[in-house]
């Protein structure tokens, strides 16, 4: 299991275990973490699973694809560390990952 910390906009912190192979979005949904909507279930079709990856983890989580970049353009309050969490696959190299949630998913 991979440890991921999700920090809500108001600072509430959730430390959870996520199975490798799931997306960071699925980790949030399975652990009932509020603030990620995932309307399209992870099909990269809605931009409501938006997260900010902690700067220390940017390199390990990698860069978004062209399609993800296009979708992110329409996310609320886009920042440099923005990612669509349905596109980040969880594996052991992400053990300890920290992501922050935006104020709203639009």
């Amino acid at each position: 299991m991979v440890k991921i910390t999700y920090i809500e906009f108001d600072g509430t912190r959730h430390d959870v275990d996520v199975e490798p192979g799931l997306s960071v979005m699925e980790g949030a949904v399975k652990n009932l973490i509020p603030g990620i909507d995932a309307d399209c279930g992870g099909a990269c079709a809605c931009a409501t699973c938006h997260v900010y990856v902690d700067p220390d983890w940017r390199k390990k989580t990698g860069a978004p694809s062209e399609m993800e970049v296009s979708m992110l353009d329409f996310a609320e309050d886009l920042q440099e560390t923005s990612r669509l969490s349905c596109q980040i696959e969880v594996d052991d190299s992400l053990d300890g990952l920290i992501v922050r949630l935006p104020e709203s998913q639009g």
């Binding site: 799931l22 699925e26 949904v29 399975k30 009932l32 509020p34 309307d39 399209c40 279930g41 099909a43 990269c44 079709a45 809605c46 931009a47 399609m67 296009s70 979708m71 353009d73 329409f74």
Partner: protein, 413 residues
């Protein structure tokens, strides 16, 4: 009962008829809105609420396991005091007595009921349709049956060239089958998209090695003890190891109708998902609801609608007066192509293309009296996302401007 208890509905029982997308979302929304009363979901299938879109895509191709289909983990319901009753059919809704009757006769009382009965597949009366090896596709059970016959080199005949048919074609091609799609209309996805987009998808599938035969009805399915052949309308015969039929869905409105609620191409509700009975609500595929962007009533077959109506119904059940009016949107994944659709194109009088279909990256804008009513975007995310706003705003944009790639979509209004 204290003021707090009545506020939180602690003494009330809400019954949700159905356990699909809309039911799953409604349960989440009701609990998160502070409803502490009894919450009962009654579903016909054997599974807790799960996502249907992956069934014809990654679940069929084996890239996504069952555990990842669930809307919420199966233990969510008990943890949140939600009574999830599976493998159970509701046979009757009695609005006067405020009860729901289950197959077998048991009655369950409710203070408020939410109908999320969804859709069922439209079945065509074909000789041989109940031969082993012939499938419709709507449930996990269907796909497990289909997948069991999907060996490399097997011949699959797909009846229907809509979303389901084409997604199954792409998924089964990925699994190494020989794939033929039979579409009765003159082009694929005729109900949902315009000709340029149909043309694109026919070409895409041909390039990927799938045979699509349009203008082809099916007259019979034949075989000794299992499917062996498909007989087409023009008399030709196709060998087949399995067939998947995908020719549309119909709303499950019978319980509502028999209960005396208004039905008309779906269970009639208002913008807050209320029926004429103040204690009965409906959400999702099964509803006929008003949409003020399109100025008419709609029955939508979409996940987005199921989720949004479920949220709306939950708010209405808790005493709010929400109004659901959004631009419908849909998507389909076939091979490496993402089709994203915003709006409803029925009734268009002009199509404007932006980009180059040959690049597998373009959009078709549908205009009616100069106003944008829908967009089909193929690997063209900005076109799709911007269109959702433009359509809501009843935007009128000159066709030349829409087609002009030097004008970014963000500046399109």
């Amino acid at each position: 009962m204290t003021g707090e208890e009545s506020q939180s509905g602690a003494q009330e029982t809400y019954v949700v008829i159905g356990a699909g997308h809309a039911a799953g979302q409604a349960a989440v929304s009701l609990r998160s809105k502070g409803f502490t009363g009894r919450l009962r979901l009654i579903g016909e299938e054997s599974y807790a609420p799960y996502q249907r879109p992956p069934l014809s895509k990654a679940f069929l191709s084996g890239d996504l396991g069952l555990e990842r289909l669930y809307f919420k983990p199966p233990d969510y319901y008990a943890k949140n005091n939600i009574d999830l009753k599976l493998n159970t059919t509701v046979t009757r809704l009695d609005c006067a007595a405020k009860t729901v009757t289950l197959k077998g006769g048991r009655e369950i009382a409710y203070d408020k009921a939410l109908l999320t009965t969804g859709s069922r597949v439209r079945k065509i009366p074909l000789p041989g349709a109940d031969l082993p090896g012939v499938f419709y596709l709507r449930t996990i059970a269907d796909v497990e049956g289909i997948r069991a016959l999907c060996r490399k080199g097997a011949k699959i005949v797909i009846v229907g060239g809509g979303y389901i048919g084409l997604e199954v074609a792409a998924s089964s091609k990925k699994l190494g089958l020989e794939v033929t799609v039979l579409e009765a209309e003159s082009r694929v996805m005729a109900r949902a998209v315009g000709k340029p987009v149909s043309d694109f998808f026919e070409k895409l599938h041909a390039e990927e090695g799938v045979t699509i035969r349009t203008g082809q009805a099916v007259t019979a399915l034949e075989g000794a003890g299992k499917l062996e052949r498909v007989i087409c309308g023009d008399g030709t015969t196709l060998d087949a190891d399995l067939a998947v039929i995908g020719v549309g869905i119909v709303p499950n409105q019978e319980i509502a109708q028999e209960a005396g609620l208004a039905v008309d191409n779906g269970i009639v509700v208002d913008a807050a998902c209320r029926t004429a009975d103040p204690c009965v609500f409906a959400a999702g595929d099964c509803t006929n609801h008003p949409n003020n962007i399109f100025g008419r009533r709609l029955r939508l077959e979409s996940v987005h609608n199921a989720l949004e109506q479920a949220k709306t119904a939950a708010a209405a059940m808790r005493g709010a007066a929400p109004e659901y009016n959004q631009v419908p949107w849909f998507w389909s994944d076939q091979y490496n192509v993402k089709l994203q659709i915003a709006g409803l194109s029925q009734g268009y009088d002009e199509i404007v293309l932006r980009g180059d279909p040959a690049q597998r990256k373009f959009a078709a804008f549908y205009l009616k009296d100069g106003m944008l009513i829908a967009t089909d975007a193929i690997n063209a995310v900005p076109e799709y996302m911007t269109s959702r706003k433009l359509i809501a705003a009843h935007a009128r944009i000159a066709p030349e401007r829409l087609a002009d790639l030097s004008v970014p979509m963000k500046e399109m209004a």
